[in-house]
Symmetry: C2
Subunit: 206 residues, 2 copies
């Protein structure tokens, strides 16, 4: 509810303010999805007036599309960065572990992952559906660019979808709720578990 950045007394360049609102919108949409987030909620998060949010982005749909494509872009870029570091061998488990680390990095700020999932499930809105399919295809292509083959890429992404779903349902924060849930979390997050736990507690106290 309270803006992460204090309301600036002074003015900003349009570009800076736009970026600030975009970040606020990412946090807001990550929380409650497209339909569940009002432009006023975004405005409050950004510390500006609601009409200004609309004026910057045109419509709420336009704003969400921009937030969503930015989020999927960042996610794809995180993987791409790992692949660019050094040659990737699809048969080397250590290289896949490096990709897993990229995911850990994304976990630190879950908002991109959450926005992505919200966009995926909002496919019933035509424009969002199109953006979702494009975003998914883009990420698929990044993974495939390793030369690992479609099957292996699919497996990697499927694993990611499970993790995203678990995060969306706040499973890490409620790991103790049932033994089954604990087992699933342990098994699904594996090595990345410490990072997940750290992000969870930070989230609950902040």
């Amino acid at each position: 509810m309270s803006p992460r950045t204090a309301p600036t007394a002074s003015r900003m360049s349009a570009e800076d303010r736009r970026q600030l609102v975009l970040d606020a919108a990412t946090r807001a949409f990550a929380r409650s999805g497209y339909a569940g987030t009002s432009t006023d909620a975004v405005a409050k998060e950004a510390g500006v007036s609601q009409p200004y949010v609309v004026r910057i982005f045109g419509t709420k749909l336009d704003l969400f599309l921009e937030v969503f494509t930015h989020a999927t872009g960042r996610i794809a870029a995180a993987f791409q960065r790992v692949l660019a570091e050094r040659p990737f061998d699809p048969d080397d488990d250590a290289d896949w572990a490096r990709l897993g680390d990229a995911y850990t990095e994304l976990l630190a700020d879950r908002d991109f992952l959450l926005v992505m999932m919200h966009g995926f499930t909002a496919g019933g809105t035509a424009e969002i559906g199109a953006a979702a399919r494009a975003g998914m295809a883009g990420i698929f292509d990044v993974i495939r660019s390793t030369g690992c083959g479609d099957e292996r890429a699919r497996e990697f992404i499927a694993q990611g979808m499970l993790l995203n779903v678990m995060i969306a349902m706040q499973a890490p924060e409620h790991a103790q709720e049932s033994a089954s849930l604990t087992a699933l979390i342990t098994c699904a997050f594996g090595d990345t578990l410490p990072a997940v736990a750290a992000a969870s507690t930070a989230r609950q106290s902040g």
Copy 2:
């Protein structure tokens, strides 16, 4: 007097009407999720008045929770039915194929899967989050009951999550949009592809 309205439609027992509205709500929520679906949309889908929907279920949240738990229950039951048919050998690929067929069955009426995904991503609402975690844990337990081990169960569920996401973003209906998407769909749905295609066309033609 005052016959300003058409004669009343036929009445039903409370139990029958309740089930009818529940089914309508499943379709409506499957389309647009929790936040994106009004109680009036549910009422129109069911052919009753909006206040009646509220009166039957108390609040919109209560209604969604009932729809969601019913959906996850049906999904778990579909898998359980396969396991009950005959002994399941986790090391036999044919047995896993039988579980895949259960998923194909679920694809025929995607609404349960879509409602489930909407519930998962609506975990930000406390009650829905709790129900989501319970639903996920329940399905995990059903798969684990085969004795296949946590890892194998996780893989199966992860694959399911990817399929659900693809369906939510209406990928099968737009398979031709890009070569990448086509490849991902082909690879992800595999044997179940014919069933998916059939359901897609049926859906598009009304």
